[in-house]
């Protein structure tokens, strides 16, 4: 089922407002709504679900205008951030709930068979008689997904699906969710504030800020060609340097970087830690090492430029570098925005 949002508006007294968002999600696509808290991403998801009504604009499911269809009849599966499992029902009863209340009447044996099938799908065979309080967070999230899928939704919506889980479980579930989504081919939108999660999981990432879409595209497009300083900063650690553009190049005290298509004048140059190289001598920005942090896959070097700017860069683990060392930084790649 294709989803289309046309100039959707939601006004709140608080910060969660949405200002004229238009968006298309193709059938079977997995799309991430990514943004900092307060960017309106959850509000958009809730409006698509029908849990919140838009103050303006329209939401289409396929060719049907779904803007005024209540959540009960919208045919969406919604997975809540804190699972929202019914605590007084067993896992099996939770999954069966949607089928029991449905207008489509199913026999008890049909429901039981479907519950077993879904438990198998989310790899929780044999846990049907447990209560939500007796299973782990990751298992609860999988029950929540099975419950949402039980009513054969046209669209699957997930609100910060892995937000409450620890890092290892989160990575496992990510891979698993991607597999299930591909297997079922269901149009899926999920909300997250975690860029890694969005980039790992989604076919397409929609980045929001203050109730507006600031950029959308494949993970490759948004990471390689961020269209603003905000997107650049939001997608990962980055250093901000100030330079002077002239003749297709930006001058950064001691070195120059190509700046095609940027108008002459002052510019902000964003450089990711991995796009800087450390050298003892040669051409580059001269810097003094203030601290070295060792991480499993690299060393993070904190350095200070001649003008006092703090810089972070990642070097290979075998690089010999100590606090107080003086050297130069070479810029391999940068995102440049006219200031």
């Amino acid at each position: 089922m294709k989803i289309r949002l046309d100039q959707v508006v939601k006004t709140f007294d608080t910060f969660r407002a949405v200002h004229g968002v238009s968006l298309e999600v193709a059938s079977g696509e997995l799309v991430a709504l990514l943004g900092p808290s307060g960017s309106g991403k959850t509000t958009i998801l809730r409006m698509i679900a029908g849990l919140e009504f838009a103050d303006g604009g329209a939401i289409y499911f396929g060719d049907q205008d779904a803007t005024a269809i209540p959540v009960r009849e919208r045919g969406v599966g919604f997975v809540f951030q804190h699972y929202a499992l019914f605590p007084h029902m067993t896992v099996g009863e939770n999954i069966a709930f949607g089928m029991k209340v449905s207008k489509v009447k199913r026999s008890k044996s049909e429901i039981a068979a479907r519950v077993d099938e879904l438990l198998k799908l989310v790899r929780l065979e044999g846990l049907g008689n447990r209560f939500p309080s007796q299973i782990s967070g990751g298992q609860r999230q999988r029950v929540a997904l099975a419950r949402a899928l039980a009513v054969d939704p046209k669209v699957l919506l997930l609100d910060e699906p892995f937000g409450a889980l620890d890092a290892a479980v989160r990575r496992d579930l990510r891979v698993w969710l991607r597999e299930i989504q591909e297997q079922l081919g269901i149009t899926t939108l999920f909300v997250t504030h975690d860029q890694e999660e969005a980039l790992d999981l989604a076919d397409r990432v929609v980045i929001l800020s203050e109730g507006k879409i600031v950029q959308e595209g494949t993970p490759e497009e948004v990471t390689r060609r961020p269209n603003s300083a905000f997107v650049t900063r939001f997608l990962g650690d980055t250093n901000r340097l100030q330079g002077q553009v002239g003749g297709g190049q930006v001058q950064l005290g001691g070195t120059a970087v190509a700046a095609p298509g940027i108008r002459d004048g002052k510019a902000d140059v964003y450089v990711r830690p991995a796009d800087l190289e450390w050298a003892v001598e040669g051409e580059g920005l001269s810097a003094t090492v203030t601290r070295v942090i060792d991480r499993p896959d690299h060393r993070r070097v904190l350095a200070k430029l001649a003008d006092g700017t703090q810089i972070e860069l990642d070097v290979p683990p075998e690089t010999r570098v100590l606090r107080g060392d003086i050297g130069v930084l070479r810029v391999h790649r940068a995102n440049i925005f006219a200031a």
């Binding site: 959540v71 919604f78 804190h82 929202a84 709930f97 044999g126 008689n129 209560f131």
Partner: protein, 298 residues
Amino acid sequence: MSAAVTGKKPPRVGDSPAVRRTLITLVLLVGAVLVLAPLIVIFVQAFSLGLSAFAAAIGQPDTLHAIFLTVVTALIAVPINTAFGVAAAWAVTKFDFPGRRLLIVIIEIPFSISPIVAGVAYLFVYGLQGLFGPALQAADIKILFALPGIVLASLFVTAPFVARELIPLMQAQGRDLEEAATSLGASGWRTFWSVTLPNVRWALLYGVVLCNARVMGEFGAVSVVSGNIRGQTNTLPLHIELLYHDYQTAGAFAAASILTVLAVVTIIAKVALERRGAGRRSRVSLAAPNVIAEGEKP
């Protein structure tokens, strides 16, 4: 010497054995003097002239009628206020609307108003010189100095009990469960019965118990609107006062003991019901490992 060496835990602030013992003793002492002693006195006094005197005191037609009237009032007022409390709590916690806070304040007004003021207010609304008095008189509907007045006064006084127990709990639970149920296709009614109600049942029960205890024990508001007609509009608390003023101490205490028993029974019923609910939970958790064991068998 460090705590690890001596094997003793260092006391946290204000948690030394002396403080603990003093506090526990104090609470027990206050409890005994303020709660337990009066309760014992009631029963001692009630049976001071022997069992037959007790039976005779209870068996008085006026006393029997007072018990009857109290039970009838509770049977009418408690269900109405339970429904009101659930509806009010639902409205306040599950919907956003202007005046939500005002509604909470209005629900709580009976808590802060003296019951006797409520009684007098009813007098001015339904009394002969009151707002609806003449109209009611013309229609030959008797509200004051009759059962409807007693029920109305009781309803007013106990209106907040159920709502007050439910609102904080339902606020803490949020709307996720209801939203989940609705997104799965459940109607509002279905969501209420199979999702909301099971999750607030103990708070609801507690509210009902408190409401019931208060309806049965209400004195001030009822004494104004009932007219204190012996054998007709006297509820049990009013009757106890009457007996006491008549110097029928044993009779007063006998009637009081009935009221006390009613109260104690409701509390015990509540505890018993809670136990049963809790027991069912723990039995399930004990059974759970077996489920896996069965699942693993070929």
